[in-house]
């Protein structure tokens, strides 16, 4: 790990570095406003939320310290445990299926297909569509009375059933379908760029060793695009944890609260039911969940890239 080979002056080690100060001062000033804003809006606010979560706040802030009582009440709420379970199911399926579909599309597009550009546009455009619009359109497509089920029945298959969105135990899968549709093309494009960057010699060598296409992909090409895969993975996990609008627009958390997510729970508690303490406890729980998944990646990523 070579350090600081930038334009740092060397040799002026002990005595006060006036030249360095003059050189770096403008850089400091340039970064300072952003840094101050983020220290307040990201770190300050997160700590503030953590503080509220330990207080007796209900509709208005009340800074009586109540320890972990909000967390106890939170995890005792059925609505929250349903939401937390949904988040795990949703994250695993959404990330897994999006990566799989994205990889499939990327590999297919990488076969020197005709019409690659229009196909790429078709796969990518959902990423431009907001989750609210995504939710609205899939709500109707998946609604058995108006959408795909009704359409297939009108073609003559009278017993066709596709009603995931109205069943309590399958509604979260319906949400996954819409979420995958929205992000898979974006992941495909990221992975396609990585596939195109794979060293052709390596691939040729594998071919000469007698590996078929499946084997070559599985044991040479896919391992070679691991960094892109990990980037996509982390991005998707971050998206999954933020998912809020999709559920609001698509299912309104229903039926009942079967498709609630921690994010919708926190919003309801904070702004509809005036339970700031419990809402904050929920928010901190999401934050901790995010930190556990994302922190190792960020540390790993930056240790690696600082090297060159």
């Amino acid at each position: 790990m070579t350090k600081k080979e930038g334009i740092a002056p060397s040799g002026l080690a002990r005595s006060f570095d006036w030249a360095g100060l003059r050189r770096y001062l403008p850089a400091w000033f340039a970064v300072a406003p952003s840094l101050a804003a983020l220290l307040v809006f990201v770190y300050g606010f997160a700590l503030w939320t953590a503080y509220i979560s330990l207080s007796a706040s209900k509709m208005i802030p009340d800074f009586t310290f109540v320890g972990l009582r909000n967390y106890q009440r939170l995890w005792g709420e059925d609505r929250w445990t349903v939401a937390a379970t949904n988040l795990v199911t949703f994250t695993v399926l959404y990330v897994g299926v999006t990566l799989a579909v994205g990889l499939l599309i990327a590999i297919l597009l990488d076969q020197k297909v005709r019409l690659e550009t229009p196909l790429r546009t078709i796969f990518l455009y959902p990423a431009a569509v907001s989750l609210v619009v995504t939710g609205i359109s899939w709500k109707w497509l998946l609604n058995p009375g108006t959408g795909i089920e009704a359409f297939v029945r009108s073609l003559g298959w009278d017993n066709f059933v596709f009603d995931w969105i109205i069943q309590q135990h399958t509604v979260i899968f319906a949400v996954v379908i819409a979420a995958v549709w929205q992000q898979a093309g974006f992941v495909a494009v990221l992975l396609l760029a990585a596939l195109r960057g794979v060293d052709g010699e390596m691939v040729k060598a594998a071919r000469l060793d007698g590996a078929g296409p499946v084997r070559t992909y599985w044991s040479v090409i896919i391992p070679a695009i691991r960094p892109a895969f990990i980037s996509a993975f982390v991005l998707l996990v971050a998206f999954a944890l933020k998912t809020f609008d999709l559920v609001v627009a698509m299912t309104a958390q229903g039926p009942g609260y079967a498709s609630a997510l921690p994010s919708t729970f926190v919003y309801d508690m904070a702004f509809q039911r005036n339970q700031l303490g419990i809402a904050s406890a929920g928010a901190v729980s999401i934050l901790l969940f995010a930190a556990v998944i994302v922190l190792p990646y960020v540390i790993w990523e930056f240790r690696k890239t600082d090297g060159h």
Binding site: A27, L35, T49, Q111, T121, L124, W181, A238, K242, V298
Partner: protein
């Protein structure tokens, strides 16, 4: 440039079904991806009676753009019947300045922290970029309290501030990834010639930054235009963003469901970003993958 010769392409003579399978799979996938948009477009130009009798999936028998007009300036959101158009303007007034502000600040940060690596610069970079992964619910309540104590609740300025600040981690990350690949020698040589921090930035760095500028602008504009959590929390009534207004229009209407109006409204709300993707999507993808996938 890499070659991809291990493909069905190369094996085509041996297994003629491989390309057939390839195009069939692509065709099916493309159909699934295009279907929601196609249904929305087709339904938005059908008269309501036709949708009610024939369902929302179908080919229009009569084409009419009435629903588009209604969605634009007549549909009722809560008790205000002016269509999406006032909220569309709100979103423009928020998304454009917030996008530019966060992009410019991101460029400055990326430049300062990669080309002037003072003590602690790397740590600051990590601190900033960690913000990308912040679940926004974790800051929602303090943000609401801060905005209202600043008198910015329910205002365009409040949301500009919020979107610009929470966009900074992403824009900084984009420019960092771009600028680490720019040789330090360029900056060193310019410093030798007596150019200062800002002159190097405006005359050397910015002119070579347009690919990543494009990425940042598309990413930020898309994110802000489509954002919902902050929008629904911090804007109500006349200050709603178009995404919030759309949700209110579609999910809280009473009486007969006007599918064609709802679809037209959804398309109107989606249009600016779709158009942006259509025109500069290519540069977006190229810039993004050039920056982030070098491993």
């Amino acid at each position: 440039m890499a070659t991809d010769t291990i493909t069905g392409h190369a094996r085509a003579p041996k297994f003629p079904w491989v390309p057939v399978l390839l195009y069939l799979t692509l065709g099916v996938l493309a159909f699934i991806f295009i279907m929601p948009l196609a249904v929305m477009v087709l339904t938005s130009v059908r008269p309501l009676e036709e949708i009610r009798t024939a369902g929302i999936i179908g080919i229009p028998q009569h084409v009419t753009f009435d629903a588009w007009g209604t969605a634009w300036n007549e549909a009722c959101i809560a008790s205000v019947c002016e269509g999406l158009q006032p909220y569309f303007r709100n979103s423009l007034a928020i998304a454009v300045p917030a996008t530019l502000l966060s992009t410019i600040l991101g460029a400055v940060n990326g430049y300062a922290l990669t080309k002037f690596r003072f003590r602690g610069a790397d740590t600051l970079m990590v601190l900033i970029i960690l913000g990308c992964f912040l679940p926004l619910q974790a800051v929602l309540i303090p943000a609401a309290q801060t905005l209202s104590s600043l008198g910015l609740a329910n205002s365009v300025f409040g949301l500009i501030l919020i979107y610009a600040v929470y966009g900074l981690p992403f824009t900084t990350l984009f420019f960092r990834n771009y600028y680490v690949a720019v040789p330090d020698e360029i900056v060193r040589a310019a410093t030798m010639d007596g150019a200062g921090f800002w002159r190097i930035f405006t005359q050397i760095m910015l002119p070579i930054s347009w690919p990543i500028f494009m990425v940042s602008v598309v990413f930020q504009f898309t994110g802000i235009w489509n954002e919902f959590l902050f929008g629904v929390s911090f804007s109500t009534g006349a200050s709603q963003t178009v995404t919030v207004a759309l949700n209110n229009l579609v999910n809280t209407t009473f009486g007969v469901k006007q599918y064609n109006v709802d679809m037209a409204a959804s398309l109107i709300a989606a249009l600016p970003v779709l158009i942006l993707y259509l025109f500069v999507g290519r540069f977006f993808v190229r810039g993004l993958t050039a920056g982030s996938v070098k491993g």
